[in-house]
């Protein structure tokens, strides 16, 4: 009778204990090691005083070589600015895009600044910082448009075969019909808007910036309609480095240095 009366509480208790056991990490030693490592990293994420930055130098204007063999670009300057903010020396390590994450895994670099777009897959290979730039697509127009729906029933200029082409064709299946105006180059698509041939163009942000610099009297709306945030990659588990990079990026934004870099290069 006693068991029947209190048995359900006993079972419930056992169940709770079992659930509690499930929350214990499978390898206690490993967890302790990780905590120790994390504490050590928190103390000094760059114990050598040097930050090795993996950079893909084939990506102008983000990073590229001059004819004299000097590596320059937005991400080169960003690496130096981050290092100054963190208080370490910087060593730039040129790495081809395909080898970036292996270079991180093999401990040849500490971080990657290489036009990495944040996505779930990269999140499994590295820790990712907060964004430092959005290389997405802008809907350039003088109509007050700021979204896909605004294009319905009108026309849209873009570069044939590029990312904007893919997005435009995708939009054509999602909203009311609109006229697609494929041009050979992004500049031609923007010319079409500036000259009143098309109401809007879909163009990548850095191409828009370059075009607007060449046409300073033209001031269209340039809302982002597709985001491609660039982030810094840090070795998985090196959370202290990621935190330090995030802090430095925030500081660069706060002090206006990031905007200066963007305006200089992009």
């Amino acid at each position: 009778m006693m068991f029947a009366r209190y048995g359900r509480f006993l079972l419930a208790g056992i169940g709770l204990i079992l659930l509690g056991l499930l929350t214990i990490p499978p390898t206690v030693d490993h967890a302790r090691t990780s905590i120790r490592e994390a504490r050590a990293q928190r103390a000094d994420p760059f114990p050598s005083g040097v930050m090795r930055v993996g950079i893909n130098p084939n990506n102008p204007p983000f990073a590229f070589y001059t004819p004299q063999g000097e590596m320059i670009g937005f991400e080169v300057d960003l690496a130096h600015a981050l290092a100054a903010e963190i208080g370490v020396e910087v060593v730039l390590v040129p790495v081809g895009f395909d080898a970036l994450f292996d270079a991180l895994t093999a401990d040849r670099v500490d971080i990657l600044i290489a036009a990495l777009i944040a996505d779930n897959f990269r999140g499994t290979r590295a820790e990712l910082s907060q964004p430092y730039y959005d290389a997405g697509l802008m809907l350039v127009n003088a109509m007050g448009w700021d979204a896909m729906r605004d294009v319905a029933g009108h026309a849209l200029a873009f570069q044939l075969g590029g990312t904007a082409d893919e997005v435009a064709r995708n939009w054509s299946r999602r909203i009311a019909p609109f006229t697609m105006l494929p041009y050979e180059t992004p500049d031609h698509a923007l010319d079409a808007v500036r000259l009143g041939i098309a109401p809007a163009a879909l163009v990548e942000a850095s191409a828009v910036a370059g075009y607007l610099r060449a046409h300073p009297d033209w001031t269209p709306d340039t809302p982002y309609v597709v985001n491609q945030p660039y982030v810094v990659g840090v070795r998985a588990g090196a959370s202290a480095i990621r935190r330090e990079v995030n802090r430095a990026i925030s500081a660069l934004y706060r002090t206006g240095q990031m905007q200066t870099l963007i305006e200089r290069w992009l």
Partner: protein, 382 residues
């Protein structure tokens, strides 16, 4: 005692009901129905594409990809069959994904060239990259290649050993010398032939690069091939896999040792001929142009289309030794979110790019209709 037993049996019954309900809630396994067998139609069988089906989760996407490959008029695909995926546990082979790909390729009447690489955890040091192959694991890799060759004998008769061995990261930043690669070929070749006596072992697949002798990143492909021969590799491959990209030069740009362009393949072939291998076939297993707006080596999408078609014509008309020209890469299962997306012919969402239709027209022998793909440049009104 009886009460306790009743109580326990009552609870067991309830738990059984819950378990049964949960089991019934589990969706039935997805049943995939294969389309009827298809027949390839092409006027230019040297048209080939490199695919990325091994990373495809959904079977219908494998079928859809291969259907699009066939409809484009490509006779052949190059596909990666990583050792690490098939033999993640030593001696235990999981062929399910490879079987799926082979099944659908045959159903679409498309031939496969298989690329072998990537090392399972048990065959490499801790904390090393998937490309790390210690010499002591060469024989395990060779056993895998033999098992693969035997399983697909008569279906897959071309196997590429390793990928771009002249790059450091393709070896996990360990020894990437031509001598190391020659040693690997020496171990693998007899195993592959034992698995399938008719298999054509393709070596090379060298990355086109100008890296000098003392570089830690890689080695110039011409120097690498020369040293492969000096290391005695000639007896351990039946044909050369070639990677030749156009970068930002047109297809007919003249080759030169200091230039990276499509016709650099001719320099590799000249080295083969110097070493008495002119009779061996060449398979261009990676090629193409990239239309990323930012990559240093990218071109406009319009130029990419024009250069690609010119490359196919060069292979057909001038390169007798070349059996296939395989474009990198048909489609990725997910976006790469980098310049690599600009090599594809079809997006992850199966949206077909303009270059697909251009290659299709060429492969099927269709005459260009003369209609430009893009609008003329807008003109200022003065």
């Amino acid at each position: 005692m009886i009460d306790a037993m009743r109580f326990v049996s009552s609870w067991l019954f309830r738990l059984g009901c819950v378990a049964l309900t949960v089991a019934l809630l589990t969706p039935a396994p997805f049943r995939f129905v294969t389309a009827p067998p298809q027949t390839l139609i092409t006027e230019n069988p040297h048209v080939c594409v490199h695919t990325d089906l091994i990373h495809e989760v959904d079977e219908w996407k494998i079928e859809r990809s291969l259907s699009l490959v066939r409809e484009m008029g490509a006779s052949t695909i190059v596909e990666f069959f990583p050792w690490a995926y098939v033999e993640s546990e030593r001696g235990v082979y999981d062929w399910r994904q490879a079987d799926r790909i082979v099944h659908h390729a045959r159903n679409q009447d498309v031939t496969i060239i298989a690329r072998m690489g990537l090392v399972p955890d048990w065959a490499r040091p801790d904390d090393s990259t998937l490309n790390t192959l210690p010499p002591e694991s060469d024989r395990y890799f060779a056993e895998f290649v033999a098992a693969f060759a035997a399983r697909y004998a008569g279906i897959i008769d071309h196997i590429i050993i390793w990928n771009e061995p002249n790059l450091a990261f393709e070896w996990g930043f360990a020894d990437f010398s031509p001598e190391r690669y020659a040693d690997l070929l020496r171990v693998v070749y007899p195993h592959a032939r034992r698995g399938n006596p008719d298999v054509v072992v393709l070596a090379g697949a060298l990355a086109p690069t100008l890296e000098p002798e003392d570089s830690t990143n890689g080695l110039n492909d011409l120097l690498y091939l020369e040293r492969m021969y000096q290391a005695g590799a000639a007896d351990y491959f039946d044909g050369l896999a070639v990677h030749t990209y156009g970068f930002n030069q047109p297809a007919d740009a003249p080759p030169a040792p200091s230039a990276l362009n499509f016709r650099r393949a001719e320099l590799l072939y000249a080295i083969m001929a110097e070493h008495g291998d002119a009779h061996k076939p060449v398979y261009i297993t990676e090629s193409g142009w990239n239309d990323s707006p930012r990559w240093t080596y990218g071109v406009q999408p319009s130029a990419r289309i024009a250069h690609t078609l010119d490359a196919f014509r060069i292979v057909a008309d001038d390169w007798e030794q070349a059996r296939r020209l395989c474009l990198w890469i048909f489609r990725h299962p997910t976006p790469r979110n980098s310049y690599r997306d600009h090599y594809t012919l079809v997006t992850p969402e199966f949206q077909i790019k303009p270059i697909y239709y251009a290659v299709q027209a060429y492969a099927l022998g269709a005459e260009a209709d003369g209609v430009p793909l893009w609008l003329p440049a807008p003109q200022e009104v003065r």
